[in-house]
């Protein structure tokens, strides 16, 4: 009995790896490009994305819509995104469950909004507007946060599930973000994973981070203890840790369909062969998980990853 769930493996496009990506096209099923880099460029500069897409299937990844907010997304940015999506025709596109601006202030990085009914409603409203303008729904990525956002009344998994359910979107599950959030909140990663709407997960990010020290605050009623705690920072500058690969194995055993698995690396770039070996590790984890399922006698399943245009009609 063999499983035919279709998995695809790729990496984020970084210009540092441009030659290596081209030299190893056969080893890659997907390449993920940060779409915001092209917002300010005239349309004639977009053609390089088509050239890249002719070499390897491209997915587009947004970082600046800030859709997880009670404030509406910026219409100019949204229209530009729609144009780009129509021009490039990626396999799929994704954005973050984060806000990046409030009022006229640009925060400068992805920020976790309070997880409550108001932000669920605001996010869903934004996603409906996004679907209206672009004609498609993004995969939504969970982000890392060192603290539980103030004003939260829902757990992260519950909050994501509510948004996905009401918007009809699918999940891009960043396993290192999830891992970091679990550890930083004192939860077991495996258990934290199961709180997410795994059945709606269609794509996965794998990355690494580092532990950063955090001093405890002085307790005004007692002496300063100087006890240090540590938080896991998801900086995308490190290799994927084994615990995250383990989470991938757990995820594979819980979803009835294939996944698109992408490794992200934003700096401290190792040799490309090291990145490829991490991709191979991911393949190995997926196969091992599938074998375990097969041995446990689970029924066969198959899922072909549908193209961007088919997904538009979902």
């Amino acid at each position: 009995m063999t499983y035919s769930a279709s998995y695809r493996y790729g990496i984020g496009w970084r210009s540092h790896y441009s030659a290596s990506i081209f030299a190893n096209l056969d080893a890659l099923d997907l390449v993920e490009v940060i779409v915001d880099d092209y917002f300010l460029k005239p349309k004639k500069y977009w053609h390089e994305l088509r050239t890249l897409a002719a070499q390897v299937p491209v997915v587009l990844h947004g970082v600046s819509l800030g859709l997880a907010s009670v404030h509406p997304v910026d219409e100019t940015r949204l229209n530009k995104l729609a144009e780009l999506l129509d021009y490039v025709r990626p396999v799929f596109w994704s954005e973050h469950l984060a806000f990046v601006r409030a009022g006229n202030i640009e925060i400068g990085h992805l920020t976790a909004p309070p997880r409550n009914a108001a932000t669920v409603a605001g996010t869903v409203k934004n996603l409906r507007r996004i679907e209206q303008v672009t004609g498609s729904r993004p995969h939504l990525e969970n982000i890392a946060t060192l603290i539980t956002p103030p004003g939260s009344s829902m757990q992260e998994g519950q909050w994501c599930a509510a948004i996905l359910e009401q918007s009809g979107c699918n999940m891009l599950l960043d396993l290192h973000n999830l891992y970091a959030n679990a550890l930083n909140s004192g939860a077991a990663p495996d258990e934290y994973l199961c709180r997410f709407p795994l059945e709606r997960t269609r794509s996965v990010h794998l990355s690494g981070g580092k532990w950063i020290p955090k001093k405890t605050q002085m307790n005004p009623t007692s002496d300063y203890t100087g006890v240090r705690q540590f938080k896991l920072l998801d900086d995308h500058l490190h290799d994927v840790p084994e615990d995250v690969f383990a989470l991938l194995g757990t995820l594979v055993q819980k979803v009835p369909h294939g996944l698109d698995i992408l490794i992200e690396r934003d700096g401290k770039f190792p040799d490309f062969c090291e990145v490829l070996s991490q991709l191979e590790r991911a393949r190995g984890v997926v196969h091992a998980a599938q074998n375990q399922l097969e041995m446990a006698g689970s029924p066969p399943f198959s899922q072909t990853i549908r193209s961007y245009h088919e997904r538009r009609s979902l």
Partner: protein
């Protein structure tokens, strides 16, 4: 106004302007037709293929020299390259590399290497693949060009012919300059027809220059022997003249005609980074 009735110098001026406009418009129409009707159909994962698209056989040979040099199979001796005899059983998977090493080991100079028939035949094998991929001219693309070029030729030769006949009928025989301009326009239009690279191929090269911009920017920090592929792509996309001069001193001597292809095409860009600080990592901190 009867254009043909213009006096000699005035008509020459008109004809020169017509030549410029006709050639420009014809080139634009040919480019437009090629980019709309023909799409690239290949994976360009081989820097040698890109080198051929850029500069023909010479492009392939230059990329191969860089690759072999960085792998230590060739070494620089003064102003020439020699085979590194201390490197036992070097891996030479590519037939172009094998032929090149054989020629260099026999003491053949680079000028002769660049014109070696067997080496050129091995390099020209890329042409078929690139032509099938619409990056270089194939029969279909040439047929598409023919219509525009023939029309342009008809215009240029029509005007020239009519003026010559009129001049001769009036006893004027000073038609030499008009003949020269007519010949120039024929040569330009025929060059357009016979151009090996298509508009699709040129656009591909411009896009590659943009996509590889980050690699180009850090070319001076590539350690010897560590990233031969990267050097090969830089040589193929931007030209060997763009490689770090300190490490590749032999380039100017061995390849004096190898200029840079320009560090950037029409679509320069980083293709990386974001408004949220380097991709989407480093957040939550």
């Amino acid at each position: 106004m009867n254009i043909l009735a213009l006096s000699g110098p005035s008509f020459l001026l008109f004809y020169f302007g017509l030549m410029v406009v006709v050639c420009f418009v014809t080139q634009q129409l040919v480019n437009r037709a090629e980019t709309i009707k023909f799409k690239p159909r290949t994976k360009l994962s081989d820097p040698y293929a890109i080198g051929y698209l850029q500069s023909g056989p010479a492009g392939v040979i230059r990329v191969a020299v860089i690759s072999l040099y960085d792998r230590g199979i060739l070494v620089n001796k003064g102003t020439s390259l020699k085979v590194n005899t201390s490197k036992k059983n070097p891996t030479l998977g590519h037939p172009v590399e094998k032929r090149l090493v054989l020629l260099i080991a026999s003491g053949v100079g680079m000028d002769s290497i660049l014109t070696d028939p067997e080496l050129r035949r091995l390099c020209d094998q890329y042409q078929n693949g690139l032509a099938r991929s619409n990056l270089m001219a194939n029969d279909q693309i040439k047929a598409e060009r023919l219509f525009y070029v023939v029309t342009a030729l008809a215009v240029m030769l029509g005007f020239a012919g009519a003026k010559i006949v009129r001049a001769l009928m009036r006893g004027h025989t000073n038609i030499m300059y008009l003949n020269i301009l007519a010949i120039i326009s024929v040569v330009l239009l025929l060059k357009m027809y016979n151009k090996t690279k298509t508009a699709v191929g040129e656009r591909m090269l411009a896009d590659l220059k943009s996509l590889f911009r980050g690699l180009y920017d850090r070319r001076n920090s590539i350690m010897p022997g560590s990233s031969t592929n990267e050097l090969a792509f830089i040589a193929a996309v931007y030209g060997v003249a763009e490689l770090p001069a300190a490490r590749f001193r032999f380039i100017k001597t061995l390849f004096p005609k190898a200029g840079s292809t320009g560090s950037c095409g029409t679509s320069c860009g980083s293709g990386c980074g974001s408004s949220c600080g380097g991709g989407c990592g480093g957040c939550g901190g």
